[in-house]
Amino acid sequence: MHEMGIVLHLAKTLDETAEENKLTAIGRVVLQVGEVSGIMTDLFVDAWNYFKVRHPVLVNSELVLETIPAVTWCDNCKQTYETVKYGKECPYCHSGETWLLRGNECIIKEIEAE
């Protein structure tokens, strides 16, 4: 359900970007979404399509989502591994001294606009 909250922030940020750069219409919006950001991509696109018609510069926009794979760092054996496959425990040394390097972000990469 937090998709709706994030979409509201995305719409606000794009409105401001349009104003700053004197843009009249925004087309493709490329968003990088981390694999473990907890964002349900289909829900996110649904929420976007619901909100974009309320923002004149965004009416014809299209959301393109790119997934950022999640990577965890093991501080015990100094290696990285795939978060989704192995979770919190390092598959090499079975240490729990691990933390997420990336994969929980939600970044606006670029927009097409005129």
């Binding site: 359900m1 709706m4 968003l31 501080d75 997420l100 990336r102 970044i107 005129e114």
Partner: protein, 254 residues
């Protein structure tokens, strides 16, 4: 249409983080401690709040912002307990964000208030994602919910400074292992303070009140002090190459 491409490279929630930082700074100036109170529906957020108002109300001026999707039943109960209260409706949204919180604080008028509780929308997921500018995050896990919740909702336990384990008086009836719940929460967040309590009997709340007294006395911590954000810097994604060495001491555990 003749489109140009703009590189934005901005976190979607960057504006929320900025609004939260402004709130934190303003509260630091006015020496008000804002507590973001979170937990599932029915965990006992309002009844715990009533206990804390009872214990702290004599010594501190307390304000409460009740955030709900709808209704004002909680606000009425809190007002009767003697705190200054306003009801916020999120209009269907499942959490409070920093802007809504800032508007709420303005409406409440924090002048002269020592302690303000934001009773967030009942939810273990979304409120954890949105920094509201609080100086302290306090979450409530109740016994009937089960000791596995830190495994299922890791972010909530990662970002909270304090965990109350409420309804501890019902522990004999439920299969709830306090040790397991505590160690699961600490695996995510070694610094989390854990208090077993019962809002029904009042058990354990004196210790929570003492903890808050200490935070209020420690002026450095009031209004801010600790950063209320899961703000570990994460290396920008540059494609599926080898990951760079970490730059944080402790990041989000997944």
């Amino acid at each position: 249409m003749n489109y140009q491409i703009l590189e934005v490279k901005e976190q979607v929630l960057a504006d929320n983080e900025q609004a939260a930082a402004r709130t934190r700074e303003a509260l630091k100036q006015s020496r008000t401690l804002l507590v973001n109170l979170m937990g599932s529906p029915g965990a006992g957020k309002t009844s715990s709040l009533l206990r804390l108002i009872e214990l702290l109300g004599k010594d501190f001026k307390i304000g409460v912002m009740e955030a709900d999707v709808d209704s004002d039943v909680d606000a009425k109960a809190v007002a009767e307990a003697g705190a200054k209260v306003i009801q916020l409706h999120t209009g269907g949204l499942c959490h409070m964000d920093a802007d809504m919180t800032a508007r709420g604080l303005e409406a409440l008028d924090t002048a002269g208030l020592d302690l303000v509780f934001l009773e967030n929308v009942g939810n273990l997921v979304c409120p954890a994602e949105f920094d509201v500018g609080a100086g302290l995050r306090l979450m409530i896990l109740s016994v009937p919910e089960g000791d596995d919740k830190p495994l299922k909702y890791p972010l909530m336990f990662t970002v909270s400074d304090v965990m109350l384990v409420n309804k501890i008086d019902t522990a004999p009836i439920f299969d709830f292992d306090l040790e397991a719940a505590s160690s699961r929460a600490r695996a995510l967040n070694p610094d989390i303070q854990i208090f077993p309590v019962s809002a029904k009997t009042g058990e354990g709340f004196a210790a929570v009140a003492d903890f808050l007294r200490e935070r209020l006395r420690n002026k450095e911590a009031v209004g801010g002090g600790t950063l209320d954000a899961p703000s570990q810097p994460i290396a920008p994604y540059t494609g599926p190459s080898k990951a760079p060495a970490p730059t944080t001491e402790r990041g989000a555990s997944v």
